[in-house]
């Protein structure tokens, strides 16, 4: 209930109690005073008649008595008058039509009730006339007779009631007037408070883009009122203003932050889109094994790497690091990388020539004074000879005949510093099995919690431990060592590593198992056996063969079950290859289009009762294999699986 209604109800109850009490009291007082007046009036009438009729009574002139009685009987409140003789016999009366039986005994009563100066008064009930005050005035001490006057008390009661009712009406009228005034008054107090409440409610859902309509009202409240209401209104207005300001500030900081974040992510995208990321990059070239990885820092540096064939025989490769960070660095990196691509083969076929050209191009309009450190090499895939040039970049490491060493410094300046700089050409010969390791300072200068660098010496020991492994394993191993060393310390600069292992012109081809299976259940067993033999022959770990066989079991079972709607013979072709690290399998079937990767994985945490039967096969494949991809090619589903041996 609202404050106002509550107050009103309380006032009504209080008023009713007061009104009734006052009425009762005044009725009581009125009744007492009226009765007293009545008594004296009755007595006066009775005495008057008695005094004036002594003579008449003595002379027995009854007609005169009757006339007096009739006259006096007209007085208000007089019910009846009668006169008796000394023996109590009725001499005259004004009863019409006859004397009620109850009156007769009264004629004889002389000394009952209240007696004042010889006159007695009693209350009697007379049917048809109600409560009567009976006044008995003896004439000459009752010797001659007595005068009896009956005063109608009901007349008094009616009179009192009449007064009480009028009183009540008057009081109610006054009450209404008071309530009306109170309403106006209370409204003046409550109205602003409820407007303030409405304002707070509106504020809670307001977005502060525009001003609230109610704000103006609150402002005018503050002007119209004084005291608490003004204080409240003022502080509410202040609150709204503060909130608006706060939200505006918040919005500004947020958008500024978002802008920076998006710039950083643009820089990251520029950087990552420029570098080749698919390995092996030239699957049909057995002469070398190349792998590289760039991990950009949150703030993004300007690292890059790239490689391409100048001709059938010569592979050109490079790694670089642009000075600075963020968008400028990544844009400069994009420029450098693009120039590198355009220069090799077209303008120059040597590393020193390429970097020399790059330097002139970069230096020409280099207003921002940015520079790039870079290492470039050209590998002769037939002989293993590398012609290289180092423009101020970290000295690469080389593992030759199982021994780790660092390439000597060449003293050439970074690209973009001196336009006329000459870049020297150096030579290095790799024998089959030798590895060349290029990296940026993000690796050697990666810091741990104590601000210590990972350093060349830690890189060397990491490389020593990775001796004999393929380029991919070396890249991964080095990055793992760095991550172990830095632990939770945030990466502050890009980290890039590129490893080339020369295998020689006669490197063996990758072992391949190609099988054509018929759409029969028994073919699963045949493939299983062939794969196991393939594994033994090429020393593939048993657990890898197990995972491949289980995955192929699930895939082929699916194809046999759902792939074919007819009863015809179909052929499923499976080609598996093993490059000493990865097992890659491609499955072609001409069944109905089906992408197993779209099948939702079952909830493997569900309890036994809820566990559904089905969906498990695909889940097993996705978990057992490291990579699963699907494509629809002409009339075939092509599923490619890749996995590498797992430890333990």
């Amino acid at each position: 209930m609202r404050l106002f209604t509550k107050t009103l109800v309380l006032i009504v109850i209080l008023f009713a109690v007061i009104a009734v009490t006052i009425s009762l009291l005044s009725a009581q007082i009125l009744s007492t005073s009226l009765t007293a007046e009545y008594e004296s009036k009755g007595r006066a009438i009775a005495e008057g008649i008695a005094d004036s009729s002594t003579e008449i009574l003595l002379n027995r002139n009854l007609a005169t008595v009757q006339a007096v009685i009739d006259l006096q009987g007209e007085i208000d409140g007089v019910s009846y008058i009668f006169v008796t003789d000394g023996a109590g016999n009725m001499l005259a009366h004004n009863f019409i039509p006859e004397i009620p039986a109850q009156v007769l005994p009264l004629a004889r009563i002389s000394s009952e009730g209240k007696i004042v100066e010889g006159i007695s008064m009693t209350r009697v009930e007379i049917p048809g006339r109600g409560t009567i005050l009976h006044v008995h005035a003896p004439v000459l001490a009752g010797l001659v007779g007595a005068v009896h006057v009956g005063m109608d008390l009901e007349y008094i009661e009616n009179h009192i009631w009449d007064i009480v009712v009028r009183e009540q009406i008057l009081m109610f009228a006054i009450f209404l007037a008071v309530v009306g005034i109170a309403y106006v008054f209370v409204n003046r107090i409550v109205q602003p408070i409820s407007r303030l409440a409405a304002f707070v409610r509106a504020l809670a859902t307001h977005e502060f883009a525009s001003e609230l309509d109610i704000s103006r009202e609150i402002r005018s409240l503050s002007q119209k009122h004084t005291g608490e209401i003004r204080e409240l209104a003022d502080s509410f207005i202040a609150m709204e203003t503060t909130l608006q300001q706060y939200l505006r500030d918040l919005e500004e900081t947020t958008s500024a932050k978002q802008r920076i974040e998006s710039e950083l992510s643009i820089a990251h995208e520029i950087q990552m889109s420029m570098i080749p990321k698919i390995f092996p990059p030239f699957p049909d070239r057995r002469e070398f094994d190349l792998h590289a990885k760039l991990i950009s820092a949150r703030e993004v540096g300007g690292d890059f790497y790239d490689f391409y064939f100048i001709d059938e025989r010569h592979l050109c490769f490079a790694i670089g690091d642009v000075s600075g960070k963020g968008v400028p660095a990544s844009l400069f990196m994009a420029l450098t990388k693009t120039l590198f691509r355009a220069t090799g083969g077209e303008t120059s076929r040597t590393a020193s020539g390429i970097l020399g050209h790059l330097n002139r191009e970069i230096s020409r309009d280099n207003d921002s004074c940015m520079f790039v450190t870079a290492f470039c090499g050209v590998l002769d895939t037939v002989t293993g000879d590398i012609e290289y040039c180092n423009a101020g970049h970290n000295q690469p490491m080389v593992i030759r005949d199982g021994k780790l060493s660092m390439l000597p410094k060449s003293g050439d300046v970074a690209l973009g510093v001196v336009e006329s700089a000459e870049y020297g050409s150096h030579r290095l010969k790799l024998a089959p099995g030798d590895q060349l390791i290029l990296y940026t300072d993000g690796i050697t200068e990666a810091m741990d919690g104590q601000e210590q660098f990972f350093s060349e010496s830690r890189l060397e020991s990491a490389l020593r431990e990775l001796k004999g492994h393929t380029s991919r394993i070396v890249v991964r191993g080095v990055l793992e060592s760095v991550r172990e060393f830095t632990a939770d310390t945030p990466q502050s600069d890009d980290m890039t590593i590129l490893v080339i292992q020369y295998r020689g012109p006669d490197a063996p081809a990758v072992p391949t198992l190609a099988v054509r299976l018929k759409n029969r259940k028994t073919e699963l067993q045949r493939f299983n056996d062939l794969m196991r033999e393939f594994g033994i022959e090429h020393e593939i770990p048993e657990e890898t063969i197990f995972r491949v066989n289980l995955s192929m079991d699930e895939i082929l079972t699916n194809v046999l079950r759902y792939g074919y709607q007819d009863e015809e013979d179909h052929e499923i072709s499976v080609v598996a290859s093993w490059d000493r690290e990865w097992m890659t399998i491609e499955v072609h079937d001409d069944g109905t289009p089906f992408n197993p990767l779209e099948v939702a994985s079952p909830d493997t945490s569900e309890a036994l009762e809820e566990r559904k039967i089905g969906g498990l096969g695909i889940h097993i494949v996705r978990t057992m294999m490291d990579e699963v991809s699907y494509r629809r090619e002409l009339d075939s589903n092509v599923l490619t699986l890749k996995t590498e041996p797992r430890e333990g």
Binding site: N549, T557, P602, L608, G614, I620
Partner: protein, 110 residues
């Protein structure tokens, strides 16, 4: 695929030797259903010499486990080989079924 059954008290111990794949799964299912049909509701599956199980095989194990559970019985599986354990782990079967190290452990207060 070789399936041998023996009893220890009222517990049926079933040894599954070999591989449960698309071909052998029918035999395994028939054999286990036969045992359930005969009223067995305490069962130990010994996987000591089981080198392989695929999703069809898992389906049969799940059906058996659900049926035994429904008849207030219990199924325990023991002596998993590494490859089978891996399959059990990645499919969540290790956590929804009672899997123990040895047959003795499986029979302990059955």
């Amino acid at each position: 695929m070789e399936i041998t059954t023996h009893e220890s008290g009222d517990v049926k111990i079933v040894r599954l030797d070999g591989m449960i794949d698309g071909v052998t799964v029918a035999t395994v299912e028939k054999e286990l259903m036969q045992l359930l049909g005969d009223g067995a509701n305490k069962m130990v599956l010994n996987f000591e010499n089981l080198s392989y199980i695929n999703s069809i095989g898992l389906r049969v194990i799940l059906v058996v486990a659900k049926q035994i559970k429904r008849s207030d019985g219990e199924l325990r599986i023991c002596s998993l080989t590494d490859p089978v354990r891996e399959v059990f782990d990645i499919t969540g079967f290790s956590s929804i079924l009672t899997v123990v190290q040895t047959e003795d452990e499986a029979l302990n207060d059955f």
